[in-house]
């Protein structure tokens, strides 16, 4: 009997809205699959696209990015910056051969626990259908290059 593939999804949530939405889902005892593991950031604008790449390169099969709805960011407009980065990142990932369904942006306000739970459930199934990512050079690609020592700025 073949084992069911259990995808691992990393979720980046913002402290004010989506992390609280996840908390609300918990308080409401709403159920979603355990395949997602959440990382808390202060804001979706903090999300460096490198984080998404590192997650996929380190063994995650999918990444969910979540933040406050546009217009409701706790820091006013930073989720718009997250949105811009996400669209460019998606294009880049597609060019690298990563299926677009593996990285998803979901806005969730602090009141939308049920919605976040259902989005997570949906995404787990979508990534399960895509199968494991098997990033070809997992391990070697995961280490980011060392930052160069500071350069002298010519006067």
């Amino acid at each position: 009997m073949t084992e069911v593939f259990e995808p691992v999804i990393i979720g980046f949530t913002c402290n004010w809205c989506s992390y609280r939405a996840a908390d609300l889902a918990g308080i409401g005892r709403m159920k979603y699959p355990p395949n997602i593991r959440l990382i808390r950031l202060m804001c979706s604008g903090r999300l460096d696209p490198t984080f998404v790449l590192k997650a996929l390169a380190s063994g995650a099969d999918g990444v969910m990015i979540s933040g406050c709805h546009p217009g409701e960011c706790h820091y006013l407009e930073q989720n718009y910056k997250a949105m811009r980065r996400y669209h460019l990142l998606k294009r880049m990932l597609t060019q690298m051969g990563v299926e677009p369904g593996r990285v998803k942006l979901v806005w969730a306000s602090a009141a939308e626990g049920a919605r976040l739970a259902s989005e997570i459930t949906k995404m787990v199934e979508e990534v399960r259908a895509l199968g494991p990512l098997n990033w070809p050079t997992a391990g070697a690609a995961a280490a980011l290059p060392e930052k160069p020592a500071a350069l002298e700025v010519p006067a």
Binding site: A22, R29, G45, L76, K81, A110
Partner: protein, 665 residues
């Protein structure tokens, strides 16, 4: 150098332990993460209890722990608790990391094996992350002693009086020409049947005369800059066309003004006002306002009757709007509500059938200073009704309109029933779903109405119609309702129907919230920091909410919230400074190339550019710690405390269990 990490897994009674095998997670952490620096791992029933915290404190002192990871409920609940425990034991509080095993694991998953495996991964992520934590000190910022209160209704008035009485200055901004809010429109208040104006106006007068309160009426906030302790607020003072320093409140101008318009605001469209007007006789401040859009002088260049008759020469048609900027340390939003527009429910006939009234219209009808001097009469202004129906829950408890209960309408409907009976002797029907009379004296009021002979019919009204089906319905209104207690449809002929419409957030609540940097819930009310334990604070430090703006409630609850918000503000002012979370960005000058991409990223204008050195710099007082600039910098020159790249990436490694020796997964 390896850190010495202590891992603490909370059972939270059975909340976590019921799904996650806590002793197993603790045992695993001690073993599998030993190479990562974990020197001790414990599990305990209630980590947040004093005994639980003492476990951590003891280990820090005896084992020389340099880092602590607690796996328990949400950090939003107990992060301060565990940081406090570390602080007491001599470990910098920011060297403690809390991970959620409850809201995000045990409460949302059913498969125990999978939940336990995930719990291990989450703890592993926490351990990897905490290694890269640095000791930090909270930022202390001074609190400006002045307070801004937006909204001059009963909640705002209460807050203003309490803060002003404590000796610090208050600015009270109100967009209408007078303070008082909706409470000034009511006739009597439940359950005491106190005259609303009689209990409100003394407070209004005290506000107007208070040396510590600066009232800015007929004014609106247009911009808010800064942060807690240090807000710069821009206010647009609309022109009254009356000079306040000359006006003595004699109201001759109002008397002599030849033009009347329908008063849509205070009289709820039921009565008239003059073009130069005070909203009501006891208005505070007493200075009238010229309604520019309807004024004959502004429209056609003629009249000026007010100017001719004014004894002090206070009319000034040249008056311009003024832009005022004030500095305050804290802000309370008490902006109140709008009434649900019952015309959205066409089958109830408001606006179409003349003798259907909304609750605010009926308040004005009852009010002795209203358009009928308090006589309860039909729309013709003359006829006394013989039978009156009052419909509860109009636009509330209804998924087609607002799903929530508006809290006050049952009591209001009972009050209406009493007033109608008392003034007209009419037969009164209340059409209700449930009778919600929870507070002091409320149920006794209901029992009194039962004894007064009001007829209560339990059922949702299907429609209010003037189309008769039987002779006794000719020329009258008919309410069609299912009387659920007898299980039959009924048609009740009436002369007047009052719709107890629900409360809704102000039509511009979302824009106001955005301006102050807070959010609204799905229903549109301002979101409080915690619905049970902190209903008057918001997620934004320095901004508080009070009254119906936070959610439907009655007058005593609004007053209590106004006082609560005032107490919170007074506490801050008394402390003179506040400790802010040291989540901040900083720029490494040696790496910055001066590309200035970060400058425009910051919505708080916290990043300055030094043209002489061609580098940017973050102002830690203005920085709110969102981290967008950290992610944006192409040179990686900006780092953020508490959410640095290294911390996030390490947590990622830990979550994916890539930090373990291959054999121990």
């Amino acid at each position: 150098m390896t850190e010495k990490i202590g891992v603490y897994i909370c059972h939270c009674g059975s909340n976590i332990a019921g799904t996650v095998d806590c002793p197993e997670v603790s045992r695993w952490a001690a073993e599998a993460l030993k190479a990562r620096g974990v020197v001790v791992a414990r599990d305990y029933k209630f980590m947040c209890s004093s005994l639980g915290q003492e476990l951590i404190e003891k280990d820090i002192k005896e084992l020389g722990l340099t880092r602590v990871v607690v796996g328990a409920c949400s950090p939003h609940l107990h992060e301060p608790t565990f940081r406090g425990a570390c602080g007491r034991a001599g470990l910098n509080p920011y060297l403690c990391e809390m991970v959620s095993l409850r809201e995000q694991v045990s409460w949302v998953h059913t498969d125990k094996a999978a939940a336990t495996a995930k719990a291990k991964a989450v703890v592993s992520g926490g351990v990897e992350r905490v290694i890269h934590h640095e000791p930090l000190e909270s930022l202390r910022v001074p609190i400006h002693p002045a307070t801004l209160i937006v909204g001059g209704g009963i909640a705002g008035i209460q807050a203003a009086l309490e803060i002003a009485d404590s000796g610090t200055p208050v600015y009270l901004v109100e967009r209408e020409p007078s303070i008082g809010g909706h409470m000034a429109q009511f006739d009597k208040t439940f359950p005491t049947l106190d005259c609303s104006a009689c209990i409100l106006t003394p407070k209004m007068v005290t506000v107007g005369a208070h040396p510590n309160i600066t009232m800015l009426t007929y004014a609106e906030v247009t911009n808010v800059d800064g942060f807690v302790g240090n807000f710069a607020v821009t206010i647009r003072q609309k022109p009254r066309y009356v000079k306040a320093d000359l006006c003595n409140g004699c109201a001759v101008c109002e008397e002599k003004c030849p033009k009347k318009v329908v008063d849509e605001v205070f009289e709820a469209g039921l009565g008239y006002r003059k073009v130069i007007y005070r909203p009501f006789a006891q208005a505070v401040p007493k200075y009238p306002v010229i309604d520019r859009e309807n004024c004959t002088f502004f429209l056609k260049g003629t009249c000026k009757a007010c100017e001719k008759f004014c004894p002090t020469g206070a009319i000034d048609f040249e008056q311009k709007e003024e832009i005022i900027t004030i500095q305050v340390g804290n802000i309370i939003l008490a902006t109140g509500f709008d009434l649900f527009d019952a015309r959205r429910i066409p089958q109830f006939g408001l606006g179409r059938l003349p003798n259907v009234f909304s609750s605010l219209e009926f308040e004005r009808l009852c009010n002795a200073a209203g358009p009928t001097n308090g006589r309860v009469v039909m729309r013709d202004g003359v006829t006394t009704p013989r039978a009156v129906g009052i419909v509860h829950c109009v636009g509330s408890r209804d998924k087609h309109y607002n799903n929530y209960c508006s809290s006050i309408c049952c009591m209001q409907s009972l009050k209406f029933a009493h007033l109608v009976e008392e003034r007209t002797g009419a037969t009164v029907y209340n059409f209700y779903i449930d009778m919600r009379t929870p507070a002091k004296g409320y149920d006794e009021f209901y029992q009194r109405l039962l004894e007064e002979g009001v007829i209560f019919i339990r059922g949702r009204v299907a429609e209010v119609t003037d189309v008769p089906q039987r002779p006794e319905e000719e020329g009258r209104l008919v309410v069609q309702v299912e009387d659920t207690l007898i299980g039959q449809q009924r048609r009740i002929p009436l002369d007047m129907v009052i719709l107890s419409a629900g409360l809704e957030p102000r039509h511009d609540a979302k824009q106001v919230a955005k301006m102050f940097g807070i959010s609204c819930s799905a229903d549109g009310w301002y979101i409080e920091k915690h619905p049970k334990l902190d209903p008057i604070a918001t997620m934004t430090e320095g901004i508080y909410i009070a009254g119906v703006a936070q959610g439907p409630k009655d007058i005593p609850a609004s007053v209590a919230q106004g006082a609560a918000a005032a107490a919170r503000v007074m506490g801050r002012i008394q402390q003179k400074e506040i400790a802010l979370e040291p989540v901040r960005a900083s720029i490494d000058e040696t790496r910055c190339s001066g590309c200035r991409i970060c400058n425009n990223m910051c919505p708080f204008n916290a990043i300055l550019y030094h043209a002489d050195k061609a580098v940017s710099e973050v102002n830690p007082a203005l920085c709110q710690g969102c981290g967008t600039c950290v992610a944006a910098c192409p040179a990686g020159a900006i780092s953020g405390t508490v959410f640095s790249d290294q911390q996030v990436l390490s947590q990622l490694e830990g979550l994916l269990l890539r930090n373990l020796q291959p054999a121990t997964v």
